[in-house]
């Protein structure tokens, strides 16, 4: 894109600057639209599974429901509790939202279509997603209220626990791909299964890791059955209890942007990203980003399906699953995978 702006007669620096800004807008604005539509999909799927209609009033098939909700929230009054810590109370949703958007900088949407093609792309995603916990913790503390504080403590413990196992799972993928660059990881999956299937999930050693990663990404984004941070039967609405209006909407948007990111990571790391599912020439007629979005959407559908069907975990069960099941299992697979690679590739 820099070359395009240079051809308009800009100097290299200005062209780079404009291209970066344009790239950010090109990712962030469609992302917001996608989040709005995905919330609609979530509610529709939930409705279908519960034999309801779901949103069907605003616009054709209720498609504009999320925008109507957005408008409603936008027109509400921002209420700040008198006992709250004002500055931090307002900063917390901004942190959640910004962090949720920042991670998208390294996501490759097609061959070469990536805002920042850095060597440590996967580590960047991990680093940024580990920042997400601050929005929750700060909001819980700054609200100066019991339920948000409980929720914040739960969230901090939950996110740290599952980040550990996610880190180990990512190490497995990185070991196999030999690079931290997300484009490199996708390229490494070309023809991975018998030269036909483009997916790391089609691998006896990496498939269990995908299962762990999928469950961990549910826990990391605090989706059901791990939505203990906002368990409405125990904690009202968790850390969002004291929030209203746009500050609440920012939490909502950030949360769904994070969920989309996790779905996309599932697609990129284990299901070939923008590669078509099979190594077959006619499939390449479809642009890469359509494949990526289709895979992401499939994982999002799984997320809503699980939300509608699986009951919530108890908190000690959640911790047990993270530390006593996922952590040893992912560690074991690091040994297995590096052993296998030493035997076959580097031996």
């Amino acid at each position: 894109m820099t070359a395009f702006f240079q051809s308009l007669g800009m100097s290299y620096e200005w062209a780079w600057f404009t291209a970066t800004i344009a790239g950010i807008l090109l990712i962030a604005l469609p992302l917001m639209l996608a989040v709005a539509m995905v919330i609609y999909v979530d509610r529709k799927v939930l409705g279908a599974i519960m034999l309801r209609r779901g949103p069907n009033v605003v616009g054709p098939f209720g498609l504009l429901q999320s925008f109507a909700d957005g408008l409603k929230v936008f027109l509400q009054e921002t209420i700040i509790p008198s006992a709250a810590n004002r500055g931090l109370f307002l900063i917390a949703p901004i942190i959640t939202f910004t962090v949720a958007l920042a991670a998208w900088a390294v996501i490759p949407f097609n061959a070469g279509a990536v805002l920042a093609d850095i060597n440590v792309g996967l580590l960047y995603v991990l680093a940024i997603s580990s920042l997400g916990v601050y929005g929750v913790v700060i909001s819980g503390w700054a609200s100066n209220s019991k339920y948000p504080f409980f929720s914040a403590m739960r969230a901090a413990a939950q996110m740290i626990s599952y980040e550990v196992s996610i880190g180990f799972i990512l190490v497995c993928v990185v070991l196999w791909a030999g690079t931290f660059n997300l484009n490199g990881i996708i390229e490494g999956q070309r023809g991975h299964g018998f030269g036909i299937v483009n997916a790391y999930a089609f691998n006896l050693l990496l498939f269990p890791m995908w299962v762990l990663f999928f469950i961990s990404s549910l826990a990391e984004t605090a989706r059901a059955p791990f939505d203990l941070t906002e368990a409405e039967s125990e904690l009202v609405a968790g850390y969002q209890t004291e929030y209203s209006s746009m500050s609440f909407a920012l939490f909502w948007l950030g949360e769904y942007a994070n969920i989309l990111l996790m779905c996309m990571l599932n697609a990129i790391l284990f299901f070939g990203g923008w590669l078509p599912p099979f190594e077959w020439e006619p499939l390449y007629m479809v642009p890469g980003w359509i494949w990526l979005f289709a895979k992401t959407f499939f994982f999002f559908f799984l997320f809503s399906w699980i939300w509608a069907t699986v009951p919530r975990f108890r908190y000690d069960q959640l911790m047990r699953l993270g530390w006593k099941v996922f952590l040893p299992l992912s560690l074991l697979f690091i040994f297995l995978i590096s052993g296998y690679l030493m035997l076959t590739r580097w031996g």
């Binding site: 060597n119 440590v120 580590l123 991990l126 580990s130 920042l131 601050y134 913790v137 901090a156 740290i160």
Partner: protein, 205 residues
């Protein structure tokens, strides 16, 4: 040009945030300023081309250590007057520590400018070039030349971890263990019993 602007932005924020860590009255604010300082230090690392270390700084310190730190500080009930009372008493010690740190910084700078620090490839001759990615370069050093130090560091951490577990893992009287396998194996037939006792008879458990 952009690098210069970025450098002064990051470094001034680091210094300002570090100052705020000391000067802010609320300990939670202090921790948050510390996090800001960490994050901007990571920015500085990116500027010198050490992107791997920058990411690790964010993942390890900001993402894990500082969260636990924040966690603890939020739960503590700290009396500020008491904390400030010890200020004058500990001032000489603080100044001494500051002097030692400054001396070390000057020493390090001097050693660096003398150019005798052996970094680079395992045989210690060539410097790492830009062609090798950060991670590869670090791995080559860490797992060849410094493998003993690396493993020693790991061992020390392991000992510290075991120590922490030993200190906190005590048998208490109210301790109840949960056997997940047993709970899952339980069936209604074994755990539920229908009884219809006579009036005034009661049931045996």
């Amino acid at each position: 040009m952009i690098q210069v602007i970025a450098f002064y932005l990051f470094s001034s924020i680091v210094i300002a945030a570090a100052a705020m860590v000391i000067f802010s009255r609320n300990p939670v604010h202090s921790v948050l300023w510390l996090i800001v300082a960490f994050f901007n230090a990571a920015g500085l690392m990116v500027l010198v081309g050490a992107e791997f270390i920058a990411m690790l700084l964010v993942i390890v310190y900001v993402g894990a250590v500082a969260v636990l730190f924040l966690f603890v500080v939020m739960m503590l009930d700290i009396d500020f007057a008491e904390l400030r009372a010890g200020f004058m008493k500990n001032l000489p010690l603080g100044i001494l520590l500051a002097i030692v740190l400054v001396c070390e910084l000057i020493l390090g700078l001097g050693a660096y400018q003398a150019g005798k620090v052996e970094l680079g490839t395992p045989d210690g001759k060539a410097a790492i070039t830009d062609q090798v990615p950060n991670i590869e370069a670090m791995g080559q050093l860490l797992y060849t030349k410094y493998v003993f130090l690396f493993e020693a560091a790991g061992l020390i951490l392991l000992v510290a971890m075991i120590g922490a577990i030993v200190l906190t893992h005590r048998k208490t009287f109210s301790q109840r263990r949960q056997n997940i396998g047993q709970q899952v194996r339980r069936r209604p037939e074994e755990s539920i019993r229908n009884e219809q006792p006579e009036v005034g008879q009661g049931v045996e458990i």
